[in-house]
Symmetry: C2
Subunit: 212 residues, 2 copies
DNA sequence: TAGATTGTTAATCGATTAACAATC
DNA sequence: TAGATTGTTAATCGATTAACAATC
């Protein structure tokens, strides 16, 4: 039982970690000090070994028969996810999804801070959404030179996505969080992560018709 | 090159299909009649064999040297996804995400029709969001007896998610589309599909801090 | 001590990628 | 015909699950 200090985390593990974190924080709020992989696994109906592997990636070491220290585990998970740091982000496209993200207060917990929101539509510009002013796209580079950000959130329609991404890349963002169902090209070195609702909807509706 | 009429589609394939569909519809609008896997693969930077396997699942048969008929492929993909049918849905929780989904006009293309929206908050009840009246949670079962729906969309806070799911299950929905970062229990036979933003955010922020 | 849980290795499973004959 | 593309089988890769000794 030595500390492996693993730097390799699988993508699948990363996706499960926020779920664990949420549970751990609930437990912490309830005053629970220790938790076992078995318990976590039962909560989510996962395989206990899988949970153990996922937690192993955090570098936290458990104690046989007892489990892991909740407080310390929370810190490790957050560290691994990068949620202890604050990541400044621009949001491009203040449609329905853009508005929802602007209003999502929990992002703060995940280290995500939207520092500016942009739109092409003159109707939306200068309006305020959740206390934030919507700026014209044409000012993005100027804003970026004053208030740099590392993440670009893309919530424009599919046919404008590449254009928005290109502008964000020029502005110097290091990662794109894309919500548009379009193929996106990015230069080497920039991170692209897609968050499309249609993916899980596809699985759901397929399952639904398959059963009928 | 015979038609296999495969009923097995992998989860991973299903998630990619909406992306292909979007491209196919763009091509169709541009008047393109035929498309090859090679072309689709290049667009998305996927492996051509992977695209071929994905398309094979639709049952559509291509022609060597030429490719697939766009129009016919669109139909097959939609059929496989279940997007030719209309799936009625209830939405529970009219917060930011709930509002965004209510306003998302593209769902119609995916066969998803939100027939009623519910919330616990008396302040929100009777208000209108995108022309739709917000109903009190307590009326859900009554509404369900008049206007049944097969999908329940859960956009409430994590600590209310299970409660919302239970109510939806009692109302008779066959599938839950869950946006809350909480462990959800459902009875056998009900489909659960999670659509949590934190999953892809976790991958993104981890990549970001790993690079620094 | 007894037994639950950890850490870790090995086996299994599923998805991706490589290879290639068939074909238009 | 020549060569691009399909359909399909085999090899590889990665993630999940099983098995089990170490340990508290």
């Amino acid at each position: 039982m030595k500390n492996p200090v693993r730097s390799v985390v699988s993508r699948s593990s990363l996706k499960r970690l926020p779920l664990y974190l949420h549970l751990l924080e609930k437990l912490s709020a309830e005053g629970v000090a220790r938790v076992s992989c078995t318990y976590i696994a039962k909560e989510f109906d996962f395989d206990p070994t899988q949970v153990r592997k996922d937690l192993e990636a955090t570098g936290e070491v458990g104690t046989a028969r007892i489990g892991f220290r909740v407080a310390s585990l929370i810190g490790r998970v957050k560290e691994l996810l990068g949620w202890n740091d604050t990541h400044d982000a621009y949001l491009v496209g203040v449609g329905n999804m853009g508005k929802a993200l602007l209003g999502y207060r929990d992002f703060e917990k995940y280290g995500l801070r939207i520092v500016a929101a942009f739109d092409k539509d003159p109707q939306k510009i200068k309006s305020h959404v959740f206390g934030r002013e919507i700026l014209p796209m044409s000012t993005l580079l100027k804003v970026a030179s004053k208030t740099p950000a590392r993440i670009g959130i893309v919530t424009v329609p599919a046919d404008q996505a590449q254009e928005a991404v290109d502008l964000l890349v020029v502005s110097g963002v290091k990662a794109i969080w894309n919500f548009a169902p379009a193929p996106i090209r990015i230069p080497r070195g920039v991170i692209l992560e897609n968050a499309r609702l249609t993916r899980s909807l596809a699985v759901l509706t397929n399952n639904l018709v398959k059963k009928t």
